[in-house]
């Protein structure tokens, strides 16, 4: 839920509440419909909040597949 809140706050998703985001639903394209600018914003927000770096788009693509994959990425890379 912390991740979902961060997502909504960082990307200013006015028409989505954290509760509405499904754990396994795709964040980009279909699903939430995020774009490359959102991906950058999200990477920056996660870096600052969790001290976990998402160094580039290749890593981002995998990590940002869904809330589930993002949570896993953050927990495995947290220092």
């Amino acid at each position: 839920m912390e991740l979902k809140k961060l997502l909504v706050d960082a990307l200013k998703l006015d028409d989505v509440t954290p509760e509405q985001i499904e754990d396994a639903a795709p964040l980009f394209g279909e699903g939430l419909g995020l774009d490359s600018i959102d991906a950058l914003e999200l990477a920056v927000a996660i870096e600052r909040r969790f001290k976990v770096s998402i160094p580039d788009e290749e890593v981002g693509k995998k990590a940002f597949r869904s809330i589930d994959t993002l949570a896993e990425y953050v927990s495995t890379h947290a220092k």
């Binding site: 600018i37 950058l40 914003e41 990477a43 920056v44 927000a45 870096e47 600052r48 580039d56």
Partner: protein, 226 residues
């Protein structure tokens, strides 16, 4: 206190930029690869701009508000006689370094919604110069990078510009032979070489709040050469 990074900041134009920004109240880090020279009021640090790991470490440690890309060297050679290593080196130092630094330095600027990027280019990128095909290509490449990046990060209040000096009196240009110098000066309406401080003035202005509405530009400081 705001942090500024000046690559190539211990000598020549970079040094003048580091001194000017320090004078304007920035905590300045001057990065150098070879020229371990003290700069009054400025922290110097060995960071090779082609070394991604060293850049990552620097940017993990300090969040920069201003980044001035002034690292570079001249190695003039005619294209048909140019060793492949020279071409690669010049593109790495002048162009790829911008990518390596900015991909890290921009993130804190994005998070904090503001920042300044200033790339030192060259009149050679605009006019061309024999012996500088690699250098001019790299600098012209920087112009494209600056214009594109300006559009990417404008939404975060970050401005990205280039300053293109002409002939400037530095240790680097003192090695030019007299004939070349004369030839260069013949094209300069103000009929003299510039001083590093005159380039630094444009840089400090672009780094200041006064230049908040200027982005994606290449500003020539060349005595009218271009």
């Amino acid at each position: 206190m705001k942090n500024a990074l000046v690559t190539g900041g211990t000598r020549g134009i970079g040094r003048a930029c580091a001194l000017a920004l320090a004078e304007d109240g920035f905590a300045v880090t001057a990065a150098y690869a070879h020229d371990d020279v003290a700069v009054p009021g400025v922290t110097t640090r060995r960071v090779d701009v082609t070394d991604a790991a060293a850049i990552d470490a620097l940017c993990a440690e300090i969040e920069f508000d201003v980044v001035v890309l002034a690292a570079g060297s001249r190695r003039d050679v005619l294209l048909a006689m140019m060793p492949e290593a020279d071409f690669d080196d010049v593109l790495r130092v002048h162009l790829k370094s911008a990518y390596l630094i900015l991909r890290r330095a921009l993130r804190p600027m994005i998070a904090r919604r503001g920042g300044r990027v200033i790339a030192i280019s060259s009149a050679s990128a605009i006019l061309g110069r024999p012996g500088q095909t690699h250098y001019a290509a790299a600098k012209a490449g920087l112009h494209g990078l600056v214009r594109s990046l300006a559009r990417e990060v404008a939404r975060y209040g970050i401005t990205v510009n280039a300053v293109a000096p002409g002939l400037v009196e530095t240790e680097g240009t003192q090695s030019l032979d007299a004939r070349v110098r004369e030839e260069l000066l013949a094209g300069v309406p103000l009929a003299r070489a510039g001083r590093p401080e005159e380039v630094a003035h444009a840089v400090r202005w672009l780094a200041s709040d006064a230049a908040a509405y200027i982005t994606g530009q290449v500003i020539s400081v060349d005595g009218g050469l271009t």
